[in-house]
């Protein structure tokens, strides 16, 4: 009997139920999309911040060298959550005797880690070099091949392209690391690492690297790490305020609609009381209706909300958004709770009124 009444209540006046359900669905989807976004935006923004380059650096301590397997140890520890680029430096001389810093590195990796390097052509063939714009006028002013000498050993190089960064790289000549080491014999003196993840994960990586390489100094690049923490922190706080306001408004919308819906059914309520239903039964009936509405609305709203969050992810971040199913319990509980409040409150107010008064239309 109880369930039959519940079903009939929905069938008889579908219009009113539908608009009440709509309110819950919209509110739940907005709440889901916002919470999904809040949880996900940090991961997305962190990826953007990785384009600033290395946030951890491994250098040999004074007077020591990095062990030859340092790079492979770093790679083992990093796994998939970062990129490590070795750098080796030496001072060579041009044919005119002018000193110039030559650096050896892994071109493929440097291209990924330091995406802001403005390069006209990357060296791919042997004996080709990438020349910083300031070094170019000294080393190869007419863009032809040039020879550099290091401790008596000569190396003829072709300029493959120029490099512009606005920083120290503009004054150097970059070679492939293997070629550099074969020519100078100088091993890498530093490894720049772009580690991805939360600050705790990055600190964990630093700790593991420090214990794996006791002869080296492993430290975060403070400029990058502090800048990221600050901007991300402010963005997250603003987003939190916005999300809170939106969820509050959505809740208000649900409350208004559902309260009106229940008040509209006061004749049903009066009839049930007049027919002899106990208070508990009537309360239970309306609460069950409202809870069912809240539950169905929450499920539908959650699905739509995930879709909206995915759309936002695609449009703004050009990346897939991971649906955070952990948000569902909160949305479900919130919807059902709101529905119950908006059902129970008006019924509580109507309790004291005589059924006859309500049936008469007052």
């Amino acid at each position: 009997m109880f369930f039959r009444m519940l079903m009939r209540a929905t069938m008889v006046k579908p219009g009113r139920v539908f608009s009440a359900l709509m309110a819950v669905v919209v509110a739940a989807s907005v709440a889901t999309a916002m919470m999904n976004l809040y949880v996900d935006v940090q991961a997305k923004l962190r990826k953007e911040f990785r384009s600033y380059g290395a946030n951890v650096v491994v250098v040999a301590r004074d007077g020591q060298k990095l062990p030859p397997d340092a790079l492979s140890q770093v790679e083992n520890i990093l796994g998939n959550s970062g990129l490590a680029v070795p750098f080796a430096y030496a001072v060579a001389r041009t044919e005119q005797g002018a000193p110039v810093v030559v650096a050896g590195t892994d071109m493929e990796r440097v291209r990924k880690l330091d995406a802001w390097w403005s390069v006209t052509g990357w060296p791919s063939a042997p004996h080709s070099a990438l020349i910083g714009t300031r070094a170019a006028s000294v080393v190869s002013p007419d863009k032809k091949s040039f020879t550099l000498t290091f401790e008596g050993r000569k190396l003829a190089l072709n300029p493959a392209g120029t490099l512009r960064t606005g920083a120290g790289e503009d004054s150097r000549v970059y070679l492939d690391l293997k070629e550099f080491t074969a020519w100078t014999g100088v091993p890498p003196s530093s490894i720049e690492i772009g580690a991805s993840g939360t600050p705790d994960e990055i600190n964990g990586v630093i700790g593991r690297l420090a214990s794996a390489l006791p002869g080296a100094e492993v430290r975060p690049v403070r400029q990058i790490v502090e800048g990221e923490a600050r901007v991300l922190g402010k963005t997250r706080a603003t987003l939190l305020a916005a999300v809170a306001m939106i969820i509050l408004t959505a809740a208000l919308c649900v409350l208004a609609t559902l309260t009106a819906w229940v008040l509209d059914r006061r004749r049903d309520f009066a009839i049930m009381k007049a027919l002899g239903a106990s208070e508990r039964l009537v309360n239970g009936f309306f609460a069950a209706e409202a809870a069912a509405l809240g539950a169905v609305g929450a499920v539908l709203g959650f699905a739509i909300g995930i879709g909206v969050a995915a759309w936002i992810g695609r449009v703004n971040f050009h990346a897939a958004v991971v649906p955070r199913f952990g948000v569902f319990p909160a949305v479900f509980a919130g919807s059902v709770a709101l529905a119950l409040i908006s059902a129970v409150l008006p019924i509580g107010l109507l309790r004291r009124v005589q059924p006859a008064t309500i049936l008469r239309g007052e």
Binding site: A27, V91, V231, A241, T249, N316, G361
Partner: protein
């Protein structure tokens, strides 16, 4: 008669009007706060991005090549050109002086520290810490405390006119010195007031006021490099064009010159400081554009969601308010009012509610926006005055839209059924 009915409607049904009014006020205040925050957040985040430090560097245009590994400069001291320190305050006279948050000159001089009986070679880096400069009758402060916020000092920062210095962390460890010690450097006595920690090359150097480094080098008024931190506009198609090619088109030139692109600011820095070459520090300048665009895009979408939620809340409140009054509608129609008259009365009520609720909502929204600004950014959110008419217009439109459907339904009621209580 119409006005009297309108007035009575507000007087007699105060509670219902109040509830609808509160819904409108709340919806409008959320919308106002979100719009205010979203329009200002670009500026606020741009300022926060300055934590990354300088995004422009100015060097002498006749410079020789730097020979530097790991911050240690191997170039002989006497070579190289210099910028003129006296020209630095001119930066405050450029078009973008309010976008330029700070600048720090740098000059490195080789010296030697007496450590017991041995002389330990060091580099002395001269710069501004928190220097007061004057341009015209305007005075301003600039220095590494603004452009290098990740520099941490245990002890005190030196005064820019003194001969107090900071000792880099690692150098201090090597020499076994601490804050408060006296150092003898190349014949001069310097007082160490703090230990500097930067995780960079400066940890191995003595950082002194610019004048001290200039004295060691024997070149008063010389500056090797100038690092500038400015709030810029993200790059777009116009900014990537070569400025020389824009000179032929005055309108495009004006637009480029008067937009704070990083290249445009670099161009104006070159104009302000003679014999200089200015360019962007790509690591900082390139990436902040992307980050800023992402965050602004995100806030825009969130604002749209907020507007949607507010509109729904207001519509829901208005729809229920009118539905409850169907017996009134029945009575008016039974007394002979036409559909148009009843509809006009309800729309007029809705408009009045929207205006009053909208104005109150704008005030609250403003307060909420300021609260958010204080809590997150410790500064005021700049609210554009044009927001007020926009918000009121939105409130009226949404209130009308919310009421329209229910008013139309209310028109269709049979007065007899409604008055009997059967509808």
């Amino acid at each position: 008669m119409f006005v009297r009915m309108l007035y009575q409607s507000f007087c007699r049904q105060r509670r219902r009007k109040l509830l609808a009014g509160i819904a409108i006020t709340l919806g409008v205040s959320v919308a106002t706060a979100m719009i205010a925050v979203a329009t200002d957040i670009g500026d606020k985040i741009n300022r926060e991005l300055r934590t990354y430090g300088a995004n422009l560097v100015v060097t002498p245009d006749e410079d020789t090549l730097d020979v530097e590994i790991g911050g240690v400069n191997l170039k002989p001291a006497s070579t190289g050109a210099y910028l003129d320190e006296a020209a630095l305050p001119n930066i405050r006279g450029t078009f973008w002086r309010h976008n330029i948050v700070g600048f720090s000159p740098m000059l490195t001089a080789p010296a030697a520290v007496q450590n017991g009986s041995a002389a330990h070679p060091v580099q002395v880096l001269g710069t501004y810490f928190s220097k007061q400069l004057k341009y015209g009758d305007e005075s301003f402060t600039t220095g590494v405390r603004i452009t290098h916020p990740w520099w941490k000092v245990s002890g005190a920062w030196p005064g820019d006119e003194s001969s107090d210095v900071l000792l880099g962390e690692r150098l201090a460890q090597q020499l076994g010195r601490k804050a408060g010690d006296q150092l003898e450097v190349s014949g001069r006595k310097l007082h160490v007031v703090g230990i500097l920690s930067t995780d960079g090359a400066e940890d191995n150097q003595i950082v002194a006021p610019l004048a001290v480094a200039q004295q060691f080098l024997g070149k008063p008024g010389a500056v090797r490099r100038l690092l500038v931190s400015a709030m810029t506009k993200p790059e777009d198609a116009l900014s990537r064009r070569d400025p020389e090619s824009l000179k032929s088109n005055p309108e495009l030139w004006d637009r480029w010159y008067c937009s704070p692109y990083v290249n445009s600011i670099a161009y104006q820095l070159q104009e302000a400081i003679p014999h200089s070459k200015a360019e962007q520090i790509r690591q900082v300048a390139q990436n902040e554009g992307t980050v800023l665009e992402r965050i602004k895009g995100l806030m825009l979408l969130v604002t749209l969601a907020a507007l949607l939620a507010s509109a729904l809340a207001v519509s829901a409140a208005m729809a229920t308010a009118i539905f409850e009054r169907r017996s009134e509608v029945g009575l008016m129609k039974a007394l002979g009012a036409g559909n148009a008259a009843v509809a006009t009365l309800f729309f007029a009520e809705a408009a009045l509610l929207a205006l009053l609720g909208g104005a109150a909502g704008y005030g609250f929204g403003n307060l909420m926006a300021q609260q958010i600004g204080q809590w997150v950014f410790n500064s005021r959110i700049a609210v554009q005055p044009v927001l007020f008419p926009v918000v009121i217009a939105l409130a009226v439109i949404v209130t009308f839209a919310g009421s329209a459907a229910s008013i139309r339904k209310a028109m269709k009621f049979d007065p007899v059924l409604v008055l009997r209580g059967d509808a």
